[in-house]
Symmetry: C2
Subunit: 197 residues, 2 copies
DNA sequence: AAGCCGATTTGACTAATGTCAAAAACGGTC
DNA sequence: GACCGTTTTTGACATTAGTCAAATCGGCTT
């Protein structure tokens, strides 16, 4: 877990210390935008063509499953924070339709980069290829840790972890997002919260 | 899911079609071994120094947690099959102590490659770097899918999936491994099986 | 074939979580 | 400050999975 954070620092440093030529090339193909709360960076069923670097704000990735008796259920599988590269991994790297949607949780400043542009940058600048690789490794380890947590910890422990790691999140997003992220219903989450204080 | 398998085929093809020079360099630094059932490719708490390509046989990666009242509990988090690159991802790529152990489930033929040797090969042969990257991407997508399955499917559905995707597995490994992999107790798994036929 | 040992199944009971429905709390608007 | 819609909490009950213990099954040995 500490190893995870140091990996994250490594790729963020590489981003900050791009060589002038790589920086110029990067700036030429990316665009910075301030996008409103609720904006979709990626829609379920569509190919995710861009990867966003989150400068400020937050986002979530979620999956809509149709069947549920009481309408569709919306299950959040991850949250994103500043410094994260935001995309639907499989959809972006394989350019296939996404199984999930990504939505901003608040107004956010992002830097957008298209798939083709990223591939060109990677081919031309080893340092950018390195960032891409490290950030993917980071994501992979984050996933490993999440599975660990889903398999080994109780819902109450997972909520406590979340409170510890992302306290601000609990302030600003609906409980239903957090509950589905933890793999429980919002009633159960509410009861866990009641028991804590 | 289909995208996943095609990605796997892509990296396996690259392995088969290495250029003669890359092949020679690869053969020079790897060793093929036939290892017995129960052999540990990696021990919990130690740095995983090698990555194994599984030629035949199978393996599992598991985590021992000490606390349990009735002795330590042993939770399987993945199984490996021929064509897989077998290692503890975080431990190998960051060279930090592993949180899990990897054990052969039967006598297996493997090709062993040390961390330093892999880094040299990657630097010298772009095609090997490409294989490493694709296989990591494959693993990442596999993890994503596994989280999906843990979060969206019931234990019974996950067992049915396993039966469909890895039928041979059910024949040769103890139910307790499969149960912990599915995130349930072996009694529950036994009851699920009883209900199926 | 009998005996043994580990793996699996079954049973009875308990604990945890889900479901459905209603009440309370909260936020923004007029 | 009253009103409205949304979010969160609470309650009662059903369902699912976990726990502990005993019975059965299967393969192996002698």
């Amino acid at each position: 877990m500490d190893a995870l954070q140091s990996l994250r620092r490594r790729y963020l440093q590489l981003v900050d210390n791009l060589s002038p030529s790589a920086r110029t090339a990067y700036d030429a193909v990316t665009r910075r935008e301030l996008l409103p709360k609720g904006y979709y960076l990626c829609r379920q069923g569509f190919v995710c063509r861009t990867i966003a670097t989150l400068q400020s704000g937050s986002a979530r990735i979620f999956h809509l499953k149709p069947e549920g008796r009481s309408g569709a259920t919306d299950v959040t599988t991850a949250f994103f924070f500043p410094g994260d590269f935001v995309t639907s991994f499989q959809s972006f790297y394989l350019q296939v339709p996404s199984q999930s949607a990504i939505q901003l949780l608040e107004e956010s400043a992002v830097t957008l980069l298209d798939y083709d542009a990223l591939q060109s940058l990677r081919a031309a600048y080893p340092e950018i290829d390195q960032i891409d690789r490290l950030s993917n490794d980071y994501y992979t380890m984050w996933l490993e840790q999440r599975i660990f947590s889903l398999q080994f910890h109780t819902a109450a422990e997972r909520y406590a972890d979340l409170l510890r790691n992302e306290p601000y999140l609990v302030q600003k997003v609906p409980l239903s997002y957090i509950a589905s992220y933890l793999g429980i219903t919002l009633e159960t989450l509410s009861r866990i919260r009641a028991r804590i204080d």
